[in-house]
Symmetry: C2
Subunit: 402 residues, 2 copies
Amino acid sequence: MTQYHPLNEQEAIAIARNISGIFAAEGELSCREIGDGNLNLVFHVSQPSTGASVIVKQALPYAKVVGESWPLSLDRARIEGEALIIQDRLAPGLVPTVHQVDHDLAFTVMEDLSSHVIMRQGLIEGGVYPLFAEHISDFLAQTLFFTSDLGMSQQEKKLLSRSFVNPDLCKITEDLIFDHPYTNADTNSFDAHLQGEAERLWADAGLHLEVALLREKFLTHAQALLHGDLHTGSIFITEQSTKVIDPEFAYFGPIGFDIGAVIANLLLHYAGQEHWSADAKARAERRRYLTDTVRDIWIAFDRKFRALWQEHGTDRIAKTVGYEDDYMRRLLQDTAGFAGAKVVRRIVGLAHVADIDKIPDPAVRSKAQRMALAIGTALIKRNRQITSIEQIIEIADSVSEA
Amino acid sequence: MTQYHPLNEQEAIAIARNISGIFAAEGELSCREIGDGNLNLVFHVSQPSTGASVIVKQALPYAKVVGESWPLSLDRARIEGEALIIQDRLAPGLVPTVHQVDHDLAFTVMEDLSSHVIMRQGLIEGGVYPLFAEHISDFLAQTLFFTSDLGMSQQEKKLLSRSFVNPDLCKITEDLIFDHPYTNADTNSFDAHLQGEAERLWADAGLHLEVALLREKFLTHAQALLHGDLHTGSIFITEQSTKVIDPEFAYFGPIGFDIGAVIANLLLHYAGQEHWSADAKARAERRRYLTDTVRDIWIAFDRKFRALWQEHGTDRIAKTVGYEDDYMRRLLQDTAGFAGAKVVRRIVGLAHVADIDKIPDPAVRSKAQRMALAIGTALIKRNRQITSIEQIIEIADSVSEA
């Protein structure tokens, strides 16, 4: 048993060298630490003579966000490693391959994805990803169906859930998504010009009830093993390939939380088009691309999840007439509500997104922020009435056209 | 580490003797095994010279029901012991005191409740328990509130939930309550005169949808640490005292499942009054006593749970305007639905109740069985429309007066 300590580059090289089938026996390895240093060390270990490379990702025993630091369990490295292995089995090709998980030193050795870009950055640079809806709906349908009571033994699911009790990282979500944005919390962070908008959020009792109900689902509805943090910063992408990374927030929770995260981040980018598009025509086209993607994701997810249900449903009860339709309707409603909560927190809460925050002109940024808040709050308030993905798109379009 | 083996009476005496503060140092101990031998050995160890006594309850590694035997995890003894300790802390005086829990030998040494009777038998003998509604609503409010996200740290709840992953015993509930009664399953057991009623259950698509939704809640809604099997055979009672026993089905599940179990068993006894009451007047009075008890339990539970919420609510989100009312309405609806499912399974499923099965005259028994099925199915079908405990009582009364 090795005592935990932060790795240095020489240790990362030694760990990487030990993985079989990656590097040639001869040939030096070089290493750079490429993490942002907030939560993890990320070592990129490569062999110039062969071009081979791997990532050694090590959890740090604390989180640093906007200058603050708080302790964070190293167990999240185990959770991330075990979640990646399950996701790789259920959605092969859509997550990085894991070569090694070490619980004591809290590191994972995994496939290097340097050939991809982070999707958030790719979108900001105007990227179009024609296979993304197909890939992410595969990821969602496969990982969520086969870890739910619909797609695996209910008894094995209960045993598996013990490995994904994740209080530290769930606490971050419970506070930063379902609590702080709706009150005058110290952790909140927003431009001064949004003070009035923030105060309206803090005073909106109807909104708070819906958020409390969504939070209850996050706390109690153990539907499936979620990724738990599926924003566009957790997705590596090219035109041909999609790789979902960083499942350290994985736990058994409500399926709509993962789908909602993807849709929320597309809608945040949609609001950001106030700046990122060159003119009104380009903006309309780009927004159309984004809402088409939202629609394609839901429709493909719905089709694939239902197909898995029909083909691989665990038991006869799941085949009860009307049950599947009722379940999918509730998933869509949860998706809308969680998407709304994830949009709102990115405008007034602690952690923001570059799609909005990197807009240099305060007036344009303010317009994008207000649009995102209007979309987010409408999704939250109306989530229990949603019956079609078109209604989610209409909410975005009616706000942007207002 | 002691290897598991079934205890004999001499070993039970040695274990009991070892508990401090129960028996005088001098004075022989005597022992009888008083269990039914289906799931557990139950040793009653007493000291005739002092009148002191304790119970040594040991789990057997199998379950025997109607001649069949299947393996069952000994871990349920640990779960039962740990649940009793938590319940004793939260609802002191309402469960037997636990003196020792031994995981290897799967036994618990606990308070002897021989001065009490099993409530099911007490009711059959015409017993009236004026404090029962007060006691059981205390038990329900205290144990369920303080193990929910409303009444304990959400992070500690997640960690605690790991100790109550209970696949074997949940599987029994999932099969025998939420599956088999609604199909022509081998495990079902019912009087031949109910064949037509059973076939109607198996063909009722509207009923099946509600059962599927209830089963989903049982599988996924981890609201609080349930007793998990709270029928009147799990309650020891006198006019002055109520003791809830046998929480081996404990797990984190939907709160309404426990409340519904109590109400279901009162309503089964209500149906049984076709036989147990001497005449129509006595029957009406006895049924009035039972529905008054149902009403008193819900009203007291609702009042106490809300008072705990106001006084001990974990966080500000739970104080959101309208949230408490919405939550309590959903608890009542779940209570109705789960009560219905628990009534139905006792008529056509594997395990029955003496309140009905001990009715000697087949015609009278048939009338009671049909009444119970009508009450149970109505509760299931209407559960999502229930907004008042009076509607549950009206369902029972309208069936019995039909």
